[in-house]
Symmetry: D2
Subunit: 171 residues, 4 copies
Amino acid sequence: MDKKIFISVIGESNSSPEIYKLAEEVGAEIAKAGAVLVSGGLKGVMEASCKGAKSAGGTTIGILPGSKREEGNAYIDYPIITGVGYARNKFVVKTGHVVIAVGGHYGTLSEIAFALGYKLPVVGLKTWQMIDHYGQMVKDVHYTTTPKEAVALALKLAREARPEEPSEFKK
Amino acid sequence: MDKKIFISVIGESNSSPEIYKLAEEVGAEIAKAGAVLVSGGLKGVMEASCKGAKSAGGTTIGILPGSKREEGNAYIDYPIITGVGYARNKFVVKTGHVVIAVGGHYGTLSEIAFALGYKLPVVGLKTWQMIDHYGQMVKDVHYTTTPKEAVALALKLAREARPEEPSEFKK
Amino acid sequence: MDKKIFISVIGESNSSPEIYKLAEEVGAEIAKAGAVLVSGGLKGVMEASCKGAKSAGGTTIGILPGSKREEGNAYIDYPIITGVGYARNKFVVKTGHVVIAVGGHYGTLSEIAFALGYKLPVVGLKTWQMIDHYGQMVKDVHYTTTPKEAVALALKLAREARPEEPSEFKK
Amino acid sequence: MDKKIFISVIGESNSSPEIYKLAEEVGAEIAKAGAVLVSGGLKGVMEASCKGAKSAGGTTIGILPGSKREEGNAYIDYPIITGVGYARNKFVVKTGHVVIAVGGHYGTLSEIAFALGYKLPVVGLKTWQMIDHYGQMVKDVHYTTTPKEAVALALKLAREARPEEPSEFKK
């Protein structure tokens, strides 16, 4: 039953109009591809991506940090209530087959770090860049420049990450 | 968007055929009522309730304790991957508007305790009974004797628990 | 270096004077035995046991549910700040070699359930009794009637639980 | 009772000899200042800092990601067993008044992000640098070049972060 692709969209809760618009387009592309959108369920990029997904008939999961269903944004189909604060960032990334980072403040940075640590593929769209303590720029993030490109690459990476199921993947 | 009722079904992962059958019926009743079934996503009561829900066209969420999608049972639409072991029991109960306990071993007992602690309504079906340190039997669990009765009561309690939204509730 | 015995004391945050006194004596006995007291760090039994331990020169750890150091009681040497609410109950029991339950409300019930699920030895002192869904009283809790008896038994069980290190145990 | 300063030392579990040595010196400096060292409890920087602290008569706490006491390094006085994987990174940073990052891989990056998100002061020693999505280098990390400098600055920041207790701070 679990042949759907889950894509986690991460990004700041307090986003500029430009970033909000990018996230909305990312959500819409995810929905058009038949993938499920996972997010942290709050405002900003989380809201925008869920809004975009719903506008295109998609399905959205919001993994909330707090203890109240009401803190979720208005575009979440399935709110998951954790009450563990930002420890939930781990669940947001783990629940996706792939992660797309759009913009992002420190919470997003922690999620990128978790995803890379768990060896989940990470696609970036106007997001963090990191320089390690040897002075090397991190190359594990797949940077893209448009929502379409980001989602297309995320889908490709999600499929590659599941070599055991290639023939079954459809939606 | 979040007007759906979420019902968490908790119970042992290693269940007798009798308990398995009860859980399957509970799942089917939940689906028929248009509510979303939340569970811990593993075998036994968790599997049975998801199976019942899917057989009746319902929707299922499995909040997994481990780090792998594959540990979820075959009847989960939306697996949530936490990797926090039984700390996830908190999220299983919090994500429901109401909890139904069917059978159950120690994990279930912890979930009943969490639900009562968070003042979530708990419906019991052949499950734990507890005697506090004053020698008083706990009266906060609503014991029932059939799946139909359990789900009907759970729906009633879920609606009562949301007095702010009575006119909006439909499904 | 880790040859010390850790004993987790669990119990209600809002306790009667009788339970408070029992918990204080439990804490003092733990300290006299040279074991480290682990608790959830709040008031009631948690405070009383830490207070008793400090009065006897012991060491106390408080694993706090919230995000603020200040919520810890006044008798904690080492506050651990989790910010995950009652999901921290898992850590409180896992951090001990053995658990002593004194009195207790629903949080304590969840901790007893966690401890039994993780097969940690549990000693009870005026605490919960549980009847499973077959109608059998749970026999895995070692009920005692005095603080001295509870701590003596806990120490014995902690040592037995570590058969690999018997000759090294001293303090 | 809680007047001690807690300093969280974060860094990679698989460290070069150079980084290991820096972390050991950081731990020793922390111990000499009478502060308590908090770490994630594993190898590499975590082990080195604990080893350094113990060599100078200090006290060490290890907040372990796994479920077994034995996974902790040999220099931990107080192992905290969480069993939540890298979700425990949140507790490692929150338990400190201040964080010192030495070297570090992705886990450390997530901890720096958490600390900055929680507005905890972060001191860096040969560690990550981050560029936000506006192209700005993050300036919230206080970069230093020697263990002595790092610990001296951490102590200063820890004291400043507690303006409510200035006169009471001693050790």
